[in-house]
């Protein structure tokens, strides 16, 4: 653009271009203007580090006039006389013009690279000498305005703001020519050369039917000087309508965007040419692009602010200030994190599923155990058939015989009423006796829902003894029950506990089967104190081999020829389901003692003691 210009003076110059090659950049405008800073950044990026870069500027349009130019030129020539540049770079049209005007006195043989010069300017001057080369630039006012109108379809007003400096007036003139293209779309209003305050007030009153375009300005109607970028910033801040501009240095000031060349790219392009010249290429040789490309630049924050349809942003637009989403910013980390997370989640899921499956399996094992417990009760009952039949058939036999006797007495015709009455009483008593046996067996054998009820272990043990006394008698074994002196209240399933007892007592009966007469005794004792309720089943039989003790309660462990090896395993399951434990130890002297121990039910939480 025009704010730049370069001169290279070259005196006899070339000669001393010794080890450190020297490049002199001359800007039209102040070196610290954003556009110049960007361009110089591009230059330095491209030019080798060993190359020394000097920068000067005309400070146009703040300073101008013939004498100023002459003095400046003299100053620069003297300044660089002893360190002549190998290449001159001019930034801006004024700098190019300055150089062309004074080339004869200012390093005439040093090749010149121009940047920031518009094509229209080049057309307006005589053809450049062969050793003055560069890629022209173009500021796309119309493209920017067109884009603005496209993004704001409701806009009917196009407000164009320009300044009062000579450059500003040139922009104004050019713009007045270009806006006519949009007259059927929007009415153009120029705020040209007004005091900044007036401009801002006007901009602050705009509605959503307006869009603003401005190249910024160097000077306002009151003579205040601005960097165009700063002018754009205050305008964007004040405007109640979207503001567009043609320079990429405006991005970030609050403007929406525009079709813009890149000053940094311009600097890099110039740097490339400089490099080639320094390497000794003939100035005409580089094949150069016809023009610096422009690109649609847009500030994402403004897109959001003004509600521009995101889909209307072309794919090749350069979007600035779009806060990258977490994914965009840390894609790799995100992928890794996501992978780790997914893996963990998967792992957790698998573990949960496993756990669930295991719990289900455990539950089903538990259920099966209870099923098995029931089956095992039935099996035990099967083994007791003889004893059970005996117990039931005794009273039945008595009933039948009594009935027969009564019948015979009646047939005899004798008056023996008292005897008949006695017989009937006996029949009733025996009937009840038989049904009691059946009730006990039913209670023990019926499939039932597992209960948790308080019950007295003493009563439970007595019931088991009643069921087993016939069997014990059949086997000629004395079965002795020693109940606890106080109620032994346990909360749980009475039948399951009775099954445990039944199992232990039957085992004990087996154990003493071959013992001599005086040792054929099985003692079941119940003890109850504040902390525990314990049952012990003692026998004086063959005892347990020490090596069998650890496996005793394992499934399918049996030392009996016909044993399935499930009884004690089931017993342990049932005991543990009641929070108790079961173990075996050698009896005092001989035989074995099976101990079952339960934590005492909190006496306070139980109903007053008494059999359930």
């Amino acid at each position: 653009m025009r704010f730049l210009a370069v001169c290279c003076f070259l005196l006899a110059a070339v000669a001393t271009a010794g080890e450190t090659r020297h490049v002199l950049v001359l800007y039209s405008s102040h070196r610290l203007l954003p556009a110049n800073l960007e361009a110089e950044g591009g230059l330095r990026e491209t030019i080798a580090n060993s190359t020394e870069l000097s920068a000067e500027f005309l400070d146009y349009p703040r300073f101008e006039g013939e004498s100023y130019v002459r003095i400046l030129m003299t100053f620069l020539r003297e300044k660089y006389a002893l360190r002549p540049p190998a290449v001159l770079v001019v930034g801006g049209e004024e700098a190019l013009a300055f150089l062309l005007d004074h080339r004869a006195q200012f390093f005439p043989t040093v090749p010149v690279v121009h940047m920031g010069v518009t094509r229209s300017f080049l057309r307006s001057i005589p053809p450049l000498p062969a050793d003055v080369v560069g890629v022209p630039i173009e500021y796309d006012f119309s493209g920017t305005i067109e884009q603005a109108l496209r993004w704001h379809p409701r806009a009917r007003r196009l407000v164009v703001v320009t300044g009062a400096a000579s450059w500003d007036r040139e922009f104004e003139a050019r713009l007045r020519g270009e806006v006519s293209r949009f007259q059927d779309r929007a009415t153009a209003e120029f705020l040209a050369g007004l005091p900044t305050g007036a401009v801002l007030k006007r901009l602050g009153e705009l509605g959503d039917d307006a869009v603003v375009f401005t190249p910024g300005y160097f000077q306002d109607g009151e003579g205040r000087m601005f960097a165009p970028r700063e002018a754009a910033r205050i305008m964007a801040a004040a405007a109640t309508a979207p503001v567009y501009g043609p320079f990429n240095t405006f991005l970030g000031t609050g403007i929406v965007g525009g079709s813009m060349p890149s000053f940094a790219a311009m600097g890099r392009q110039a740097g490339l040419i400089v490099n080639e010249l320094l390497d000794g290429a003939a100035p005409a040789a580089p094949r150069l692009p016809v023009i610096m490309p422009t690109a649609l630049n847009v500030d994402w924050r403004q897109v959001r602010r003004w509600g521009i349809d995101e889909n209307a942003i072309p794919g090749d637009a350069v979007v600035h200030f779009k806060a990258l989403t977490f994914l965009e910013e840390h894609r790799k980390e995100a992928i890794i994190a996501a992978a780790v997370f997914l893996f963990q989640a998967g792992l957790i899921t698998v573990l949960l599923v496993e756990r669930r499956r295991r719990r289900r399996a455990e539950l089903s094992v538990r259920n099966h155990r209870f099923e098995l417990a029931h089956a095992s009760r039935l099996a035990m009952a099967g083994g007791l058939t003889g004893a059970i039949a005996h117990e039931i058939n005794q009273p039945l036999g008595a009933i039948l015989s009594n009935a027969d006797a009564a019948e015979l007495i009646l047939e005899s015709g004798a008056d023996r009423r008292d005897e008949l009455r006695e017989i009937l009483a006996d029949i009733r008593r025996d009937d009840l006796r038989a049904s009691e046996v059946i009730r006990r067996l039913r209670a023990l054998l019926a499939r039932h829902e597992v209960e948790r009820q308080p019950f007295d272990l003493n009563a439970a043990a007595s019931d088991v003894a009643a069921v087993l006394c016939a069997e014990a008698q059949r086997r000629r074994v004395t079965l002795e029950i020693q109940p606890a002196t106080t109620a032994a209240m346990l909360v749980g399933d009475r039948i399951q506990i009775q099954q445990v007892l039944l199992n232990l007592v039957l085992n004990a009966l087996d154990a003493v089967a071959d013992a001599p007469e005086d040792r054929r005794t099985v003692v079941v004792s119940v003890e109850s104190d504040a902390n525990r309720i314990a049952i012990a089943v003692r026998d004086r039989g063959h005892g347990i081999a020490p090596e069998h003790l650890p496996q005793l309660f394992d499934s399918f462990f049996s030392t009996k020829r016909q044993g399935m090896g499930l009884g004690l395993s089931i017993a342990r399951t049932l005991v543990e389901a009641h929070g108790g434990r079961i173990w075996a130890e050698p009896g005092p002297g001989d035989g074995a003692v099976f101990q079952v121990e339960f934590p005492a039910a909190g006496a306070t939480s139980l109903p007053s003691p008494g059999p359930a």
Partner: protein
């Protein structure tokens, strides 16, 4: 000797024992109850016709034990077993040991009385046989040694002449004493004498 049979009931279950005694009494039998094998053995049965109604399962010695003990002691009372649960092993053992029957409780009256009839019949037969053998033994004991030797010769099928030669007596003396011992033994013919000899042989075994 009283002809009325006496039935012994050994049953530990009191109510059943009482019921059975009642039934037997109502049917006109004389019966006596015992709670265990020991009780029965402590009161030796009077020498009367009768039988034993015996529970298999008893506290202490079982019914089967009692049966064996009675056999050893030569008490020939027929035994009817009662059982609460007909287990095959026990019934086979009991029948082999000569039980009249093996009845499952509850016992039907008809079955019980039928078994009782058979038991009493067997007892009567046994008694009759025993009495006859006694008679025979007494008669045989009345023979003189010479008559007993001649009897053995006759039973062995030897002719009178040979018996006389062996005993160094005349054949006529053999004939005379033969007629005498037939009268003493109550036998009408030589064939009858042979049968008597067989039975005597049987008794002495």
């Amino acid at each position: 000797m009283s002809a009325a049979p006496l039935i012994h009931v050994v049953e530990d279950d009191e109510s059943l024992r009482v019921a059975l005694l009642r039934l037997l009494g109502a049917a006109g039998f004389e019966a006596r109850g015992y709670a265990s094998a020991g009780d029965f053995l402590l009161q030796p049965p009077p020498d009367r016709p009768g039988c034993l109604l015996l529970d298999v399962r008893l506290p202490g010695p079982s019914g089967l034990d009692l049966q064996a003990a009675l056999r050893r002691q030569g008490v020939a009372l027929p035994v009817i077993f009662l059982t609460g649960y007909a287990d095959v092993t026990a019934s086979v053992r009991a029948m082999k040991a000569g039980a009249v029957d093996f009845l499952a409780k509850p016992v039907e009256r008809a079955a019980l009385f039928d078994a009782l009839q058979r038991a009493l019949a067997r007892d009567a037969a046994q008694r009759a046989a025993r009495e006859e053998a006694e008679r025979l033994r007494a008669r045989f004991a009345a023979l003189t040694p010479r008559e007993r030797a001649i009897f053995e010769g006759i039973v062995a099928g030897k002719p009178n002449k040979r018996i006389g030669d062996e005993l160094a007596i005349a054949e006529r003396t053999v004939k005379l004493q033969r007629a005498q011992l037939m009268v003493k033994l109550g036998a009408g013919s030589a064939a009858e004498l042979g049968r008597l000899a067989e039975r005597l042989q049987h008794l002495s075994e």
